[in-house]
């Protein structure tokens, strides 16, 4: 029987009882009774109608539902009766649950949601793990072919190379799009059907450079082609090569990695033509990041990995950063690559802990409020117990009330998380290189289940103890309208709860304090000045410029910009995927103090960037010794180098580095200067070794992107257009990207470090408010319970300030215990933050002292109201009430 049949059954029972009752009545009348007497007699013979119904429900197996309906109705009535309390409770829970759900939505999108492809459970991704342990060491095309042709564990295998900055020109508009180079079977392997046109044919991925075909994303089709079906067959230039659009991917398919929406898919055979081949124009060097495959039936992941490892013959590469010492690593194809998964996991662990602590505080707070309410309601409970309600019924009843609160909180929390998700995804929308990220944050059953589970747990956590406590009172005293209560014996649990809340808030506020200091340290730049500085990236290599063409371009851009009003100085830099200033970027190189040595034991791994003259002046990087590059350091003149402080100390611990020679790949360079480290101080990251070579003495075609730093007078944002126009007037074809104020780039690059304090401060602030409220309510309640005692004290001559002190001391005692416990806990737990802290230690005394003072002040304020209330008690009144 289903619940909707319940009503019908009830109606049926009602009808049956009525008809039989009428019959009984008729018979009684036939026996000669008057109408009224007959009715009463019939009723007597029948008995209690409500009882009959209840017993019938029990017979149907509906007693439990009956009780639940009753409990829920009763709980709703109770909640309606104290709307203030209910609203506060629901709001607290909503904030706590909402914050947790927001973080969980991201965890879901990044780690849990299966890929929107066919047989996602059999899908694996294969990486080459480099000697440093990262997964991006990559494969060469011959390595992929070897595996594809010889391994039997894969039903299908496709190579993948993601390039986030393909240059797409549409009419007058040029833009950077994220592209993926894949094998011809990529779409069939994933079971993804283009919703317009077709995917690749096998023969379109056979001959290098022959088939310029592209499948575009639905988003690109919508935003750039106005959903025009005539896009099929249109030829669009990508990296200056014509590509024919053959298909539009379905709307829910953004590629197979979360957060990195692919906009164009291109056959892997076009990789070299698009500009990503080796020097010799082939693509035999390791350039493809991963492979994606479907396991053949009957093969497990570990077996497939073992087979791949046994088959693989690593080809030698001449790229030092693509070492031949690689290992096969096979993972279930999840939404993220293992490298970013590790980063994101750390980040979200932090956010999740902060929000979990917030929820815990909310629960403790509510628990305290309910305990107090339980005392206030003890007469009601005593009445119910004494008229025969079982203890388990009472507990169930009270639990139903807290669960109702919790689920209401959960529902509102889910709504709040919509706002939270928007906030977080805005934070993640753009990265420091100007690329867009997109996350599938739609509500799914996992998030729903999570919020409901949180509500359930929260409801039981904050509801069970008060409910059990409610039974532990003396019936007789309670019935006699609130006999005296000794707050010292009955209030310890509430004191523990409030002390715990103070301690937990302390942790959150200290963590946010540390993170805020770290963020401001990072924002202001370490040994460089991001203010009034513009950065942008030129990509002449996409136009296949030769070395002289590139140098000519650099010269002319430099000259033109310097002649532009408002520009103070111009510098440029080349070096791998590196940002112009970042201490983590640059191309790997091996440096030695001994000539000719290429032995790894003798060499140091450093990060190398090629920079123009006045680079250090433009970025305001201090030169600690020697000089910086100038116009004379050009091709033909003696080769020169600048090292950062860390590298100077490593290579020449005693004395100055200036004047020494160092060797890079067997080539000799004279050190002419030492510059400051750009790396903010951290307890986790040891200083990176940096080497700067002169741009004019390097191989510009090999290095690719050119990054410009332009110091301007005034707001860099307003100069951006002018600078772009100046570059276009020099060369209208050269792709320009990543153009933004340096301060913005710094913010984007350090996004996790900037995001953490805002989330943490949000949690910390809420925690403070909740704790203040909790402390206030505990003290206010204590004052109410002790009003007689206070009355007696006053009658015996205590002054108002004595009473004031009494209550404030109570609050202070709780606050001091709480902050002390919190400080110890923070010392231990903030070590988890170490990776996010720059320029500030986890035990930073200023933060600890500041936060302690803040918390004590908040506690004092929270105690002030109940204290003044206590001091204004009229002794006569208080005593008369007894």
């Amino acid at each position: 029987m289903r619940w909707w049949q319940f009503r019908r059954r009830d109606a049926d029972l009602e009808r049956e009882l009525r008809s039989d009752l009428e019959l009984e009545e008729e018979e009684q009348r036939e026996n000669g009774l008057s109408a009224d007497e007959a009715r009463y007699a019939a009723r007597r013979a029948f008995g209690n109608k409500a009882l009959i119904k209840e017993q019938a429900h029990e017979a149907w197996g509906y007693a439990a539902l009956d009780h639940l309906v009753m409990d829920v109705r009763y709980a709703l009535r109770q909640l309606r009766r104290s709307p203030g309390f209910s609203a506060v409770a629901v709001l607290m829970l909503a904030l706590g649950i909402g914050a947790n759900c927001t973080v969980f939505s991201f965890v879901d999108a990044l780690f849990l949601k299966p890929l929107a492809v066919a047989h996602s459970e059999r899908l694996v991704r294969i990486y080459a793990k480099g000697p440093a342990g990262h997964y991006g060491a990559g494969f060469s095309y011959p390595e992929f072919k070897l595996l594809r042709d010889r391994a039997s564990s894969y039903a299908a295998l496709s190579i993948e190379a993601e390039r986030p900055q393909l240059h797409l020109v549409l009419g007058d508009d040029s833009m950077e799009v994220r592209g993926e180079f894949v094998s011809g079977n990529y779409f069939t392997l994933l079971g993804v059907e283009p919703h317009l046109g077709r995917s690749f044919l096998p023969e379109e991925d056979m001959v290098p450079g022959r088939n310029g075909v592209v499948v575009i994303s639905d988003l690109l089709w919508k935003t750039r082609f106005n959903r025009d079906p005539a896009v099929l067959g249109r030829v669009i230039p990508i990296n200056s090569i014509p590509f024919k659009v053959i298909g539009v991917a379905p709307p829910d398919f953004y590629g197979d990695l979360a957060g990195l929406p692919v906009e164009v898919w291109i056959p892997s055979m076009m990789y070299g033509a698009a500009g990503y081949g080796c020097d010799d124009g082939t693509f035999n060097c390791s350039l493809f990041e991963s492979m994606v495959g479907v396991l053949a039936p009957g093969y497990s992941g570990s077996r497939a990995q073992a087979e791949a490892a046994s088959i693989m013959v690593w080809s030698a590469t001449d790229w030092p950063e693509r070492p031949s010492r690689r290992q096969i690593a096979l993972c279930a194809a999840s939404r993220e690559s293992p490298d970013s998964q590790a980063d994101d996991a750390a980040q979200f662990r932090l956010l999740a802990s902060a929000t979990a602590v917030l929820l815990l505080i909310a629960c403790a707070n509510l628990g305290g409020l309910l305990l107090a309410r339980g005392l206030a309601r003890r007469k009601e409970i005593a009445v119910r117990l004494s008229i025969g309600a079982g203890g388990s019924r009472i507990v169930r009843q009270l639990l139903t009330e807290s669960l109702m609160l919790a689920f209401l909180g959960g529902i509102f929390g889910l709504m709040l998380s919509m706002v939270g998700k928007k906030f977080l995804s805005d934070f993640y929308a753009t990265d420091s290189e100007g690329f867009h990220h997109l996350y599938d944050l739609g509500l799914d059953w996992r998030v729903l289940l999570y919020s409901m589970a949180l509500s359930l747990i929260a409801g039981v956590v904050f509801g069970l103890v008060p409910a059990l406590r409610a039974l532990r009172h003396d019936l007789i005293t309670d019935l006699k309208d609130g006999g005296p209560l000794e707050p010292h014996t009955k209030g310890w649990l509430r004191s523990v709860l409030i002390t715990g809340q103070i301690a937990l808030s302390m942790i959150l506020v200290i963590a946010s304090g540390l993170l805020i200091r770290s963020a401001s340290e990072v924002r202001k730049g370490t040994n460089f000045d991001p203010k009034n500085l513009l950065v942008l990236r030129l990509r002449p290599e996409l136009l296949k410029y030769t070395q002289p063409q590139m140098e000519a371009l650099a010269h002319r851009v430099d000259e033109r910009l310097r002649g532009t009003p408002g520009v103070q100085s111009v510098a440029f830099m080349q070096g791998g995927e590196g940002l112009i200033w970042n201490w983590q970027n640059g191309r790997d190189a091996e440096v030695s103090a001994i000539p000719g040595s290429r032995l790894e034991t003798a060499g140091l791994q450093v990060l190398k960037q090629n920079v123009s003259s006045v680079f250090f002046e433009t970025l305001k990087i201090p030169i600690l010794g020697g000089r910086e590059f100038n116009e004379q350091d050009r091709a033909g003149s003696p080769r020169v180098a600048i090292v950062n402080e860390a590298l100077a100390q490593r290579m020449w611990p005693a004395g100055s580095a200036v004047g020494h020679n160092l060797y890079v790949n067997g080539q000799s360079y004279q050190v002419i200067g030492v510059c400051a480290n750009l790396q903010p101080e951290s307890s986790v990251y040891s200083p990176e070794l940096h080497l700067y070579l002169s741009y004019w003495q390097s191989n510009a075609t090999r290095e690719g992107d050119v990054r410009l730093a332009i110091r301007v007078f005034g707001n860099p944002l307003t100069s951006l257009r002018m600078v772009r126009r100046a570059i276009q007037s020099v060369d209208p074809n050269v792709p320009v990207g990543e153009d933004m104020p340096l301060s913005e780039q710094v913010s984007l690059e350090y996004m996790p470090i900037l995001l953490a304090p805002s989330v943490m401060s949000f949690c910390g602030l809420l925690a403070l408010c909740l704790t203040a409220m909790g402390l206030y309510s505990v003290l206010a309640f204590a004052v109410r319970m002790r009003s007689r005692e206070i009355g007696i004290r006053m009658a015996l001559g205590a002054r108002r300030q004595d009473i004031l002190g009494l209550v404030v001391a109570e609050g202070a005692k709780l606050a001091v215990t709480g902050t002390a416990a919190g400080a110890v806990a923070a010392l231990i737990s903030t070590r988890l933050l170490a990776g996010l802290l720059y320029g500030v230690r986890t035990s930073d005394p200023a933060t600890y002292i500041g936060v302690t003072v803040l918390l004590l002040l908040v506690a004092l304020t929270a105690s002030g109201l109940p204290a003044s209330h206590a001091a204004s008690i009229d002794p006569m009144q208080a005593l008369r009430n007894e």
């Binding site: 008809s19 013979a45 008995g47 009959i52 017993q55 017979a59 197996g61 079982g390």
Partner: protein, 121 residues
Amino acid sequence: MSSMEKHAQQRVGLLQGTLDMLILRTLLHGPAHGHQIGKHIQGTTNEFLQMQHGSLYPALHRLEKRGWVSAKWETAPDRNREFKYYRLTDTGRKQLVVEESQWKQMAEAVARVMWPAAEEN
């Protein structure tokens, strides 16, 4: 749980088993509605079993749920109104046999304890 509550449940439980059997036996004569069943049991026991009609209905619904009786709204032949008529099902008939024999066994067992002399004679 209070002791009173427990006591009440035991009493109901004892009555229920017997009541079920009495209802099934009554229905052996043919279909009947609740009122008729009540009247019949009271009449045949010469008003000895002082039961409230009300307790019949939960028992009837329980028997229906177990499939021992089936119920249908039908017009009474003597009054021009519909009543809910219960009739014995086949499983109900079997159950009556089972309950009857159980009752007999119990009655005999009780009798042996209560009047041991009668047994010896």
